[in-house]
Point group: C2
Chain length 653, copies 2
């Protein structure tokens, strides 16, 4: 029996093709120009900007200097190289749906440049190579060296997969070998870990590409040693010179921030810098799957539950505070002072994907869908050239300007960031979308996402999924089976459609119960059609009443899309509109608005606005409310028009 | 005709006598011990603490070093001296109701010490005298020198008034003379101002005590020059050496923080560090009254309206952000990330009192009452030995511990602060309470506060006010008139009782309409009794619907007292209780609770708490609510029992 290995999948969804082509036509050229300091952009509105920045990025120049092709000093963050690597990874994925010889010339040359920049021993981190060679691996709390090399390893594997470029993989292996040599429990090794997890997932990925077990062992080692070396960072800092911080303030961030207050096995909650947490979790799930380590698996379940069931916004965003870009505590989900970094949502899709590969449970793909259509996608403007680092659920330009506790919240996407982790991270997610559609397991194919696609499997199965999702919920599958062997096709039943769906197989209505969240249809015939009708009713969602910030508020969702109110569409202050689960709503698709979006109009209630400058506090009487229409647009599409306030959670009537 | 000048007033209110005696028995001795580094206190919970503090305060030691009585360096903030001066001022006022020879020996000796510490030219700021004599008046943005001397001038005037100690006044005059010599428009003078306003109100006060017009002129000059010298601070900083900040970070605070972005006459809104704003406003109102400057008067009205009608919490607290301890923008009143510094509430009473002296309008005394019974009083524990710097309207120990955006919010009062401006400021307010009860104007006496008292006036009038306020609203006045001349007695009709009150004069029910917020009764007979019955119904208050943070929420108020819910009294999470203006309430006085407080029980609604760790977001259905009792205590008395959450604004049903 041939297992149903995925041979090829092509995204055909109108919604996602637009984004995928946008990345090719706008995002990649734009980001390449920025990284080469050739873009005319405004860095001044960026709270993450580098003081006095007069360059776009210098990221490519740093590599050229390290390669001996240019003179000069390193500029930017110590992890500036990763912008290039994530961009390279995004470009590699794009070749699968948009062959592009011109771009490939650029990326092949970039691989050559990276090879030239790499030290003979495999080391590559331009900050240290150029300006601090004596400090390599000596201040791991702040250096991001393994994080940086990990990002290259990911890109190298992806580029090799996409193009067959052997040099790309060789660079990655030499890098990984350098790390394997330098880190471990031998006397001449560093028995420790990077401040920013990432290498764990990257080495796992390299193991999958090369089957060289030393890489998986090293990833496993990093996960096991983390938090077992009290004071590891402090000792390194002291030896390196306490006052010589590579990034100011990072010595004071605390163990919680670095996820090393205790061993992973002992840690109950998902605390610390949100992106680090989800990258670490991705590595944990990866290694748990590849090694069968039960302790890691338990930790994966524990962290997953803590994040998804207690610390995630309705849009999928995570990270409740700007200080340390971090998680705070269970059920603490303020909407206006939150962080919700784009990278953290991208990282959540990585974590969810690894969990989904590890075990069959639709809630992982539910979270991926939530991120794809909401929290992650919000990070990029419809033009592909403006980006959010922070994704609030409530914002107001006045607040961002005059309340310093909200100054990190932008109400329009920025041209670029001094710390530019997010734009290329989102680009690589969008170009690799095909990887999120199917999970393939022995004897079964799981269709995880309602993203129209054509797919071929090694066992002769072909699946063609078509729909107008996310705007319509009629999903059509055309399946051909060349061999006649039976494959179980599991189609994810989304959590928002659990109580309202129908399935038709070959024209016959069929009662199917979901198992682990999937509707299984055995595919044995040469040709099968399946039609799923999902629940596209507009819903008023509420948060657990353990969430104080959302108590007495409703969010509007339709299918996977979470909606929001924008000032530009509504006359009154957004918080003054009152809605209830019984409020009538009207959905319509507007092809000429925001590149084509569904909009929802809610029959809300509105009080007369109180006069300005009169008594602030008065005795309350029964509210006098009038009927008012509140217009909502998809959350991912906000802030693409004039600057103004936005709100996801609406006050109750 | 003899004008009704106030000769003597003694507070007899049970509520306030307790506080006034507490200041004598606990607060003053405790603070004196702290300032002499003799208290066993824990500074570690204090977000305003000085890094590595190993002393309580060192404030008295600094004076001794400056006086040549001790060796050593200055310790603490450059304005450390002001702790001593505010304490001295508080002590001075206390003599009027509690003669205290032991304390007077201490304070007389303190005056001698201060005189010894003062330079020959009148200068006194121990930080500069001890450790930076060459920098006097050279970095006014940060030095607080005029602020510091202003606080002595206030104390010196008060001490001279209370005790007749001439040396106390002489020190103040020599200080003021030093300032008059050094600041002005002559070539050899500094044409500028202090970063922290205070000297304006202090010099006005000294003028009232001495009738020396140069002091009033100097106060007026400081108000007129502020904001007319673009870059004044920056130029001083550059000349003094940019990197030599006296207080780190203060160069970056911005013009808005220092209230000198524009001349006072041009400024539309009350922006900047809240305490600085209200101290400046106090000086403005003082000088406007004493000079008749119409431009200043207009600015007073503008700032008053902006603060009281757009930027004040229902408890009277002001300052919406911890960053810069500042105002933010109109109607921005977040309850959980706010600042509401105790000093800002104390300063609001100063501003309100000056406005009340300037013109007859009960809204000034309304604000004083609001501060006295709520926002300011909250700054001190019932034991007189623990203090809030920050007064939130919503707090949770978990949030303060795990959400860094709320780490400035303590949920239990601290022993002391590195920057200890608040404790002594509150002490001087409480000991000077008698000054807030009456305004005396030609031919009339205005009774501003329902604080039981005995008062005598120069025109032979005696007023005895008795009540059990703030717990009961029956206010009784016994008035004797020795001369037979008619005085108009205006009794303030509080804003919370405007639509529900009764007046009985000499046993006869009398219909009286308020004029400028006062009920006027002509006092001509030898003996008059007046009984006012105020509206002591429990009220659900709402904020203007321009305030997003309070939309759909109610605060409970009874008389002047704003109530709050504390975790210790209630089983469910506080935000889960739902109330409406129609909710039944039950008031009862509990003599053994919190030194005797009125409590309110609200018949609220409560949902079943959602299970932990299940789906965070679910489709909303009609709420299932059960009846539940929500117990409320006065806001000023919160955080006097076990650590827990607190909330003023309650969610609506």
């Amino acid at each position: 029996m041939v297992e149903p290995e995925l041979k090829r999948v092509t995204v055909t969804s109108d919604f996602w093709k637009r984004y995928q082509e946008l990345v090719v036509s706008e995002v990649l050229p734009y980001q390449w120009a920025v990284m080469n300091d050739e873009a005319d952009i405004n860095m001044s509105k960026d709270p993450q900007k580098i003081e006095g920045a007069d360059k776009n990025s210098h990221a490519v120049a740093n590599l050229k200097i390290a390669a001996g092709q240019m003179e000069g000093h390193h500029y930017g963050f110590p992890f500036q190289d990763t912008d290039v690597y994530k961009w390279l990874e995004a470009a590699a994925y794009s070749f699968s749906y948009h062959p592009n010889p011109e771009l490939k010339t650029i990326t092949d040359n970039l691989i050559d440049l990276i090879a030239d920049a790499q030290d003979d021993d495999g080391y590559l981190s331009t900050y240290f190579q150029i300006d601090a060679p004596e400090r390599k691996f000596k201040r791991l709390q702040q250096s991001h060296e393994l994080y940086t090399m990990g990002h290259y390893i990911e890109a190298g594997v992806a580029y090799h997969d996409a193009t067959g470029n052997e040099k790309a993989l060789e660079i990655a292996k030499r890098m990984a070998d350098c790390i394997v040599r330098n880190f471990g429990t031998e006397d001449d090794q560093i028995d420790g870990y990077d401040g920013h997890p990432e290498i764990e997932l990257a080495l796992s990925r390299l193991y999958e590409a090369t089957h060289e077990k030393k890489y998986l062992d090293e990833a496993h080692y990093f996960l096991q040693v983390r938090g077992t070396k009290p004071g590891f960072f402090e000792k390194q800092n002291e030896a390196d010179g306490l006052e010589r911080d590579i990034i100011p303030g990072m010595r004071e961030a605390g163990e919680r921030y670095y996820l090393d207050a205790q061993p992973i096995a002992d840690q109950e909650t998902a605390d610390g810098h949100a992106v680090r947490v989800v990258y670490l979790c991705t590595g944990m799930a990866y290694v748990a799957r590849l090694t069968g380590d039960e302790t890691l698996l338990e930790a994966c379940h524990r962290f997953w539950k803590d994040i998804v069931k207690r610390r995630m916004y309705v849009t999928g965003n995570v990270g409740s505070t700007t200080t340390g870009e971090a998680f705070t505590y269970d059920y603490d989900l303020p909407n206006d002072t939150m962080y919700g970094e784009t990278c953290a949502s991208v990282g959540m899709t990585f974590f969810a994907r690894q969990m989904s590969l590890l075990e069959t449970n639709s809630e992982y793909a539910d979270v991926i869908e939530k991120e794809l259509f909401n929290g992650a996608l919000s990070g990029m403007a419809l033009d592909g050239k403006h980006f959010f680092y922070v994704n609030p659920l409530e914002a107001d330009p006045k607040a961002s300007t005059f309340n310093p506790g909200k100054s990190h919240v932008l109400t329009h996407r920025a041209d670029w960031f001094g710390c530019a982790c997010c734009p290329a991270n989102l680009a690589r997610l969008i170009t690799s979308l095909d990887q999120y559609i199917y999970d393939v397991k022995p004897g079964e194919v799981l269709s995880n996402q309602f993203i129209s696609n054509d797919a071929e499997f090694a066992n002769g199965l072909s699946i063609k999924q078509t729909s107008n999702f996310p705007w319509e919920g009629n999903i059509h599958f055309d399946i051909t089976n060349a061999t006649g062997e039976t494959t179980q096709l599991g189609i994810r039943l989304p959590n928002w459609s659990k109580s309202n769906y129908s399935v038709t197989v070959n024209g016959t209505a069929t009662q199917l119960e979901a198992k682990n969240g999937y509707l299984y249809v055995p595919i044995a015939q040469a040709s099968t059609t399946i039609d799923i009708v999902l629940d596209m009713n507009t819903k008023f969602m509420r948060a657990s009443n353990r969430v104080s910030a959302d108590f007495g508020k409703y969010a509007v969702q339709r299918g996977p899309i979470v909606f929001c109110a924008e000032e530009t569409d509504n006359d009154a202050s957004l918080w003054q509109y009152e809605v209830s689960p019984k409020s009538e709503t009207h959905y319509s698709f507007q092809p000429n608005l925001l590149e084509g979006v569904g909009t929802i109009t809610v029959n809300a209630k509105l009080p007369q606005e109180d006069e300005d400058g009169v008594d602030l506090y008065t005795e309350a009487t029964a509210e006098q409310l009038r009927d008012a229409k509140l217009k909502l647009v998809p959350y991912y599409a906000w802030a693409n028009r004039e600057d103004g306030a936005m709100q996801v959670w609406l006050n109750k009537e």
